[in-house]
Symmetry: C2
Subunit: 339 residues, 2 copies
Amino acid sequence: MSSSALSLLRTHVQNPLDGSLSDFHVTPDIWSAAAARHPALAARLDVSIGRTRADFDTAIGEAEILVTWVGVAKETMDDIAHRAPRLRMVFCTSAGIERLMPLDWLPSRIALLNNSGTHSTKAGEWGIMAILMLANHMPVFATHQRERRYEKIFASSVAGRTLVAVGTGAMAIDTLRLAKSLGMRVIGVRNTALPHAGCDAVVTTADLDRVLPEADFLLLTCPLTPQTRNLIDRRRIGLLKPQAGIVNMARGAVIDQEALCDALDAGRIAGAVLDVVTPEPLPADSRVWTTRNLSLVPHVSADDPLTYTPRSLDIFFANFARWIAGEPMPNQIDPARGY
Amino acid sequence: MSSSALSLLRTHVQNPLDGSLSDFHVTPDIWSAAAARHPALAARLDVSIGRTRADFDTAIGEAEILVTWVGVAKETMDDIAHRAPRLRMVFCTSAGIERLMPLDWLPSRIALLNNSGTHSTKAGEWGIMAILMLANHMPVFATHQRERRYEKIFASSVAGRTLVAVGTGAMAIDTLRLAKSLGMRVIGVRNTALPHAGCDAVVTTADLDRVLPEADFLLLTCPLTPQTRNLIDRRRIGLLKPQAGIVNMARGAVIDQEALCDALDAGRIAGAVLDVVTPEPLPADSRVWTTRNLSLVPHVSADDPLTYTPRSLDIFFANFARWIAGEPMPNQIDPARGY
């Protein structure tokens, strides 16, 4: 701590306690580079970087700002009201913070933020890949490859096809933009039916049943909340066309996984590309491994090791600038909304 | 045949003799729609449409123009010099016409054309899909799925990565354009090192060895000729980086398939997405089915049933317009070059 620490905001950056996710750690070099991009803001902070539980325990009593992983927060927040009397901001370098819900443990003096926006470029490339894979029957061909079955199935361009996107936030926007650039029709589904630059039409979740039958592709990027848990249940899967495919970049629990596997194995829908499943890691005896026309990805779609941590820190600084200006922070979690 | 037939060009459209490829037949409706798009040109033609060998045998003696599949041409061209004394143009609704090589059977009075350009949109979507699949380790994850192995492997955006494209023609241009739009660096490899709008740099095939070590992705769309057969041989596969992936949309014989499978099974290169293999259909005992990190597609990448035949006919009419104007036809095959 520098001698001018009392005039600075005591900021602790805590990497995962178990050393995991090393591709995504905030190293001193990565912090310094981010600080150099935001020098006036960084000059307001007195920063420590921790790697162990002891580092965390040493720092938390004085910390006013904590930058950390959702997993670290999950492990450390239980008694945070007492252990961190000066804490006013927790910035989680994760977009999905459902593991911290409900937020009844969160003192009202502490703002909780996620890193929404970090993932857009990588998520966009992955999302359009997954849509094109479904359009081109790639999960079917992977199943046929397992069966040594050589059978042509032709496909048309995605131009004019309909993408229904449940979730239209930072995790979806680049996929929607790329889908539009390929001539697709995009229907966004979100909590408010306000117009959205990436969508031809927007409906609320209340109208989901009405748009599902129109979907050639169903893209899920919504946060997992009590409202979205099991949102795509057996009945709604039944509303999809036989030609429809599902891309899940949200959380496994947004879909009724058994119903999805039943529909795929029966050929009632055309395919699925799943970055997320229930549970993770997927047990060896799960039926998901061998479900027909299902391509499984181990929850890596949106996380780009080259850009993840620098962009997360840029988003932290952008929010910190709003905070010291007394303005609302765009990444602050609304405890009532859950994201 | 109409009463004014003598003043019109006798044109026969022959669908596959065995009824195959029914998604791609020239039906009377599809022909009429194409004729309506090119009324002045269509008015110069007296057209018959055949489905059987008998239809072909009846029409070929008088035909001046034949529009057909490469497979039909392969079956019928042996004695064409004698059977079709008036024939001056054969338009093949295929891009790859290597099955007709060498062209020693082709009387010099007959111009042979392919439908290059038909496939661009669909091929572009498929090509960028395949590149994004390699970037995101999808062939690896498909292998892991077979093994019930849940193991995260992260990936970065393709921005800044290098695509080496062997073949920069109609089959590649939309993939190159999409790759550029995602920030990739594109090196084209073709017979002449002339600048190419879709490429950051162009080299000739003589410089292939120099650019292969730079490739994150190697995209093959070149025609199969004596020069490109086995072009990507064991030695050249050895020039690729361990992180490199291969997309083959050309012909299986452009790659040494055994060497490719060896490299993939040994992990010496990262992955492959193959629309074409040797032979097709792939026999059940081929090692290709189970080669690691290899995604197999049954030769359907570029063929869009909704647009294939209409676009092929548009390309026929565009060339026919040049022909009656006495100008070179862009789709005419050069017997010496082989494409």
